[in-house]
Symmetry: C2
Subunit: 548 residues, 2 copies
């Protein structure tokens, strides 16, 4: 049994619990009588508000108990034979013993990651999805929900590609084509995009059954290829490397292209790379070029229009990883930041990021509604050809009906509601950047393009030296600053009032030098410029306190 | 906008909804005042019991509206700019317009698939997970929840492998090793197992960086291999083919081995296949042999002990797909049916199947706690080496904390509670088989080993002829029977009172002949032998009515 975290509380003596069939069966029928119903509702109240009250009182995202101490409390590997606890006690434990040691990602002071507060109605929507328990792998366990999913896919596809009414009328409910699919996260969406790109490049041809059927070795022989590569900027997400590994291409063949001073892919470097591979004596297939709409570290957006042109010219699959930035498209004010995305052959967007859905929901979209034919799988018992069985073209098997959540959220918020959130993030990030620049002991490292920025503590005296020093002196200062920022980030995290994350970027000015930077992601609508000032104040205070 | 399904209802005139910032911000704070709180609770009540009441009144799993008609109602591809509906209306629509056209998988008359009723407390548990909204990809967005996940993994690992206390003390919270990982479904678990098997077979060696890094082509060169195969019986799940395609091996290299008359892998055929590949002039690597503990179609269990021996002898990775059957291990009475599973190098188990969790939760376990080192991925900003960041060794990125649900359910049910469910399924399936055999117009095709069986309508006169006829006559009768069973299954489904699925098996007695069979999966504790008799009665009635 998990050792109690509240050793002081002695539980009252209770009758030992025993697994019994009539009681068990009752858990499969929701109770009929009012008393039992009101008990179930009471539990929900406890969940909705007990958790809420807790989160309110703990402003910070974490508590003082170390991970090591926590781990020591969860070391029993035996499953109890008899029931250990009733639902009420399990809920109480989760609220009193687990939640305080979880991370309060909903706090407006938690600006370190892409996980944030979600509107409370998302909890209701997820509860409905759970109560319905549909499995969208096949129509026989989902029916209308599969049809709804196809509609939502079309709505987001249209947001990206803006095809004609005729196009959507033809494809929205077609059982032969698909505009994309829901996955569980951006990683699986990127994997799906590159899987499709690989299969399209090595499609069946005279005597060759295609790479999906015959494998990479046979594909290389049939196409006279010795190596496959995928090109993406240095700021690409690690899921692309993972996809390269999974797909048999090898993750070293996910080639990192240099970025410009704005952390966008360097187009000249890209063109040179393409040229080099084309001329390489080792015959190389470029399976895809990946553009990023919102890099994880800096929120930068690659020049998508130019990338589209380069890919079209060289006939390369153009994938856009818009896991983060995709929902910016709902903002009339800022959708231009993603101009060119409509030229992509495939686009990744995450639902649990800027669509503010609960964990976890990914999506992948394709310009060509037939391109997913290269990843079709059937079976005798489900997923029959030309059915609406969504499992036919999907990396996953059994799958939750998260499309119902997005569909409902779009209705509750309207695109303008979502746009308000997007605009708030971008505009607050800009204010934050101004504030950082105003403060003598800080340095803005990457200004926000969307709603992510990086900066560092950089005391004025060192800042001045940075401007004058040679490479070696600068390297020494950077090293000092790296230690400083690592320490301040850690101390602030441990204090538990607020959280910014940190990452390491290579210096644009001094090649080869690494900079530890603080990273802020502004997506919580409750995160105001006042809160951001407090966070900077705290960092300054930690720094000064360290010197004292 | 979705066309209303209740065209008769004219909604009262309402003020148009507009996206506005203060209202939007309020959705991110759960309300403080009692009135607002009670509204939110009322919604939950509507979800918990409104849905419940509906499902009760619709015994069948589906309603009379055709899929085509449904599809015609979901053809608008535009996202509304302003909010269309308030939460209350969205919930009402979901209950009144969507749920009636979804599938009532919770009905005890729904015995066609592996999706079934779940205990009501699962809905509460999922709601907690959603309200906490942790992302277990990294400790910084999950903290204690990652630690809990490691503990649950150890509990299920122990159920499978029964290693020593020392073993679990060492690994349960180790930041260097892992006993497995949660995924989203069995497909992704099988993929992960084969990914690891591939990488272990083609691991780094002098000058070669390993297949994950350098790709399959380079691996084949380094190891002098021309082809990779994975062996599994004909009853293998289609996710294995999909994995073969994804991993670059080619799905034709997922080699189907014959089964015996009990639908278990034919060991002689397997040994011959291994022998043939070993002697093949085309140098072939056998990456894995897959044993099945509960085939999707017939619920059969391969002889796992023998498979383990064969794999050990030939030094082949032994994977067991126990997505369905795995939880049988909690039953003291029936765990012997999976004897030998402890010899597996990896084991897939689904949470949303016989652990009765909500959609969707998969798991993969490994005997060797270091074997997942072959699929490690780090990044600068998260998932740092030797942290408890679960995203380091996982096919997914962002991931929901479903381990909290399994952990809680194990505490609420105890292993004996789960065992009661398992035992009920197996024993009710046996009674069902007896009932089928008693009825002259039915034929039991595959008796239940676990809780799945197949049978068909086979009128007595044809049954007698089947016993006497030659191959050609039998083929004619089978064809007649196939049409009959296809029709009866469809008519019963359309009537909406009950649902069995159908699949096609090759005849054990008459090679080359296909049999359409009805398939029953008995997992709902409310499914009694009386209900099963009613289902057979209905099938008989449909058949007689057709003849009349």
């Amino acid at each position: 049994m998990t050792k109690s975290m509240n050793p002081k509380k002695t539980p009252p003596l209770k009758k030992a619990l025993v697994a019994d069939w009539p009681a068990l069966k009752r858990t499969f029928i929701r109770p009929e009588d009012d008393a039992a119903r009101s008990t179930l509702i009471k539990y929900m109240e406890q969940i909705l508000f007990g958790l809420h009250d807790f989160l309110k009182t703990h402003v910070g995202f974490t508590e003082a108990v170390s991970l090591k101490d926590l781990a020591d409390r969860f070391t029993d590997s035996l499953i109890s034979q008899n029931p250990e606890k009733k639902l009420a006690d399990v809920i109480t434990d989760l609220i009193e013993d687990i939640a305080p040691h979880a991370v309060n990602v909903a706090s407006p002071y938690f600006i370190g990651h892409m996980t944030s507060a979600i509107p409370f109605f998302m909890v209701h929507l997820k509860t409905i999805v759970t109560a319905l328990n549909q499995n969208v792998v096949k129509i026989e366990t989902s029916k209308v929900v599969s049809v709804v999913e196809k509609q939502v896919l079309a709505k987001i596809h249209r947001l990206i590609y803006r095809e004609s009414d005729t196009f959507y009328t033809e494809h929205i409910q077609s059982t032969h084509t698909t505009l994309g699919c829901f996955t569980e996260n951006g990683t699986l969406s990127n994997l799906t995009a590159l899987w499709v790109a690989r299969n399209t490049r090595f499609s069946p041809k005279n005597g060759f059954g295609g790479v999906e059927k015959e494998g990479l070795q046979a594909a290389y022989e049939a196409y006279g290829i010795e190596r496959s590569v995928i090109l993406v900027s240095k700021r690409g997400h690690y899921s692309l490397d993972k996809s390269g590994g999974l797909l048999g291409i090898g993750n070293r063949n996910i080639v990192a292209v240099d970025v410009d001073e704005k952390n966008r892919i360097d187009l000249t470097a890209l063109e040179n790379t393409i040229h080099t591979f084309k001329k390489s004596p080792k015959k190389t297939a470029i399976l895809a070029v990946v553009g990023i709409a919102g890099t994880t570290e800096t929120g930068s957006v690659d020049p998508l229009s130019n990338l589209g042109d380069i890919c079209a010219e060289n006939r390369i699959h153009f994938h856009v990883d818009a896991a983060w930035g995709g929902p910016t498209l709902v903002s009339e004010k800022y959708r231009h930041l993603l101009a060119g995305i409509e030229g992509a052959d495939s686009v990744t967007i995450d639902g649990h990021k800027q669509f503010y859905m609960p964990m976890s929901c990914g999506m992948i979209y394709f310009k060509d509604p037939t391109i997913m034919d290269s990843v079709i799988y059937h079976s005798n018992y489900v997923n029959r050809p030309t059915s609406v069985d969504l499992g036919i073209k999907s990396p996953s098997g059994s799958r939750e009906a998260n499309s119902l959540i997005l569909d409902s959220a779009l209705k509750i918020m309207g695109s303008r509601g979502y746009a308000l959130l997007i605009d708030h993030g971008i505009e607050t990030a800009r204010k934050f950047a101004d504030e950082i620049e105003k403060r003598p002991d800080f340095q803005l490292v990457t200004p926000p393009e969307l709603n992510i920025l990086t900066y560092r503590l950089c005391p004025l005296n060192l800042k001045n030296k940075l401007g004058q020093g040679d490479a070696e002196e600068v390297a020494q200062i950077n090293e000092k600053l790296n230690t400083l920022n690592r320490t301040v980030q850690r101390l602030q995290r441990e204090a538990g009032n607020s959280f910014v994350s940190r990452t390491t970027l290579s210096s644009a000015t001094w090649p080869g030098q690494d900079m530890v930077v603080l990273r802020a992601v502004i997506m919580n609508p409750m995160t105001t410029i006042e809160i951001l000032r407090e966070i900077l104040d705290e960092q300054e205070a930690i720094h000064k306190n360290r010197l004292a």
